[in-house]
Amino acid sequence: MDAVIEVKNLFAGYNDDLVLKAVSFDVKPLRITTIVGPSGCGKSTLFKSIIGLLPPKEGKVLVFGKDIYSMDEEKRLEVMQKVGFLFQGGALLNSLTVLENVALPLREHTKLSNSIIEEIVRLKLELVGLSDAWHLLPGELSGGMRKRAALARALALDPEVLLCDEPSAGLDPQTAAGLDTLLLELRDLLKMTIVVVTHEIPSIQKIADDVIMLSVGGTLVFSGTLDEAKRAEREEVKAFFARMPGEASKDSVPVAKFLLAAE
């Protein structure tokens, strides 16, 4: 089957800083792809490029086979309606209640009546286990609840693809495990393609079909199935799954060495 998202030779970054260098991979349909890598390796930047927020400096991002940066903004917004995105911090609109937040995409993009929309919102909130909090404002929610509300909003339009930026970061292990189960259900029952940025090895073991790994310099280290990743020979991949501490950055030296070095 054709890839849902294709990233081709992507170079991306902010101003003069290049964060991602020559990254290429495919996201296959109906699978859960996890993107892993050390902090600061450009995972969030990669997501921003995929969802149309950061134009690449070079290379292409194809979503459903279409280059999202060569189409005009309105067409792009249309394509993006089929993609749900869960922000790391939730990014709920703070002036709207949970219900209004989840209803927002439905109100903007469908002609459904208010009562149907509220029904859908209730379904989605129940799905993420948040049906009692519909009337609260985001400021009144705990971190985990906020994330689940944001997930409900990302799922509002039954997207074909769901992207999650560190969904379980800052959550207790039980809630995190619940979220993993939910992602599996979404893939199997609602036939979604899911891409997840995560650091949690137990979570990767449980949900990942495919793994994409980035290195500190923003280059692609590995792309393949979870089994292939576990058997991979590359040091960085092995070290990640064995939870070994990363090497000290190569461009820094101990102070002692610096002081003793002659000018």
Binding site: K48, V83, P254, L259, E263
Partner: protein, 369 residues
């Protein structure tokens, strides 16, 4: 203590004992003295062989000394600690290798160039915002797919218009009263009392009404628009809108734009009326004019054109306020501080542009007559 080294002719700083948060300030003073003494080419030795205890302040002191001595073109040598905690600390802390190519300092031309580029970029962004807003407003008025969110427009009309009404009415009344009182004193000397009606009518409708309203709305609603949008940018809410396929300009700017465009002229008319009423009080009670005389003179002095001039201005001011606030909001950088800066910049820039535009309009209408 700094010592002169008889063997090498260099200066030696013996840092024995502790080099920690509590002692580094004292060593700093010693280092200062050395830095004053040495000349280019001299040798400076930092002797840490007697140092037993060091913390991050000590490490920072050593690094800083090395850098400052390098700036004086002196030779720097370190005698490392003889094992122990100090030597471990120097291994634990790491620093980035100095970059081989230092970024060249920007020359005057480069600086002027990058400033001009940034300015052109900002102008382009503002223009894009303006065009996007007009596009989504016109499109929203006719399209069924992405209609204008009228409920939000009404909400903004209440926030921008209705909630400002009280303060604008009160201030306009007081300003009308003050202007009338100041003028009355002069007019009285010439026995030209009746002209207070002409003066107030024209001044309020053409200048004071639109300008005062705009300044108040810029401070009140402009600031709130800038703060709201910039906070939403920082908390990624604006990005979230984009990922949901909702254009932020359509969602955030259009309702505020329409709200301000509708309410600003109404506020201005209120301000005109209340300002004239303020003057009327002075005219009647201080100058002793009759109610009928004042009204008759006012109607004769005021032309529809005066009123329209004020209203045209008020719409232009509303646009300036909304666009400057939205522009500042979307351009925010950083966290809470960024929001503060965006809000301040929005108010200052909006007031400046309103007054500049007012001057422009005055010239236009004056010479256009």
């Amino acid at each position: 203590m700094p010592k002169t080294d008889p063997n090498s002719g260099g200066v030696r700083l013996e840092c024995g004992g502790e080099l920690t948060f509590s002692t580094v300030s004292a060593w700093e003073r010693e280092a200062q003295q050395i830095l004053k003494q040495v000349k280019a080419g001299d040798r400076v030795i930092l002797d840490l062989s007697g140092c037993e205890k060091m913390d991050s302040a000590g490490v920072a002191f050593c690094l800083n000394l090395k850098r400052r001595i390098a700036q004086k073109d002196c030779l720097f040598e370190v005698l490392p600690p003889k094992g122990g905690q100090a030597s471990e600390v120097l291994q634990v802390f790491r620093i980035k290798k100095p970059k081989a190519v230092e970024k060249e300092k920007e020359g005057f031309l480069e600086r002027a160039g990058s400033l001009a580029y940034a300015f052109a970029n900002a102008c382009l962004e503002m223009l894009t915002l303006f065009v996007d807003t007009l596009y989504y407003t016109v499109k929203g008025a006719f399209s069924k797919k992405t209609p204008v969110r009228w409920a939000h427009v009404v909400e903004q009309m209440v926030r921008i218009g209705l909630e400002s009404l009280g303060i604008i009415a009160l201030l306009s009344f007081l300003v009308g009263l003050t202007v009338a009182l100041q003028s009355a004193y002069q007019l009285r000397r010439f026995g030209a009392n009746i002209y207070i009606a002409d003066l107030l009518g024209v001044a309020m409708t053409r200048e004071m009404g639109p300008l005062m309203t705009a300044i108040l709305v810029a401070g009140r609603s402009g600031a709130s628009i800038a703060a709201e949008i910039s906070t939403m940018v920082i908390t990624e809410e604006v990005d979230a809108l984009r990922t949901m396929g909702i254009h932020p300009v359509r969602f955030l700017v259009v309702p505020r734009f329409l709200g301000a465009t509708i309410m600003q002229p109404l506020l201005t008319v209120t301000s005109d009326l209340l300002g004239i009423m303020g003057g009327f009080v002075i005219a009647v009670f201080y100058l002793g004019l009759g109610i009928n005389a004042f009204t008759k003179e006012l109607i004769e002095a005021l032309f529809i054109k005066d009123l329209l001039t004020g209203l045209v201005k008020s719409v232009a001011f509303a646009w300036i306020i909304v666009f400057v606030a939205a522009f500042r909001g979307f351009r925010v950088r950083g966290g809470a501080e960024g929001v503060g800066l965006a809000t301040t910049a929005s108010v200052v820039q909006a007031i400046f542009m309103v007054i500049a535009a007012d001057a422009f309009f005055s010239l236009l209408f004056y010479f256009g007559d």
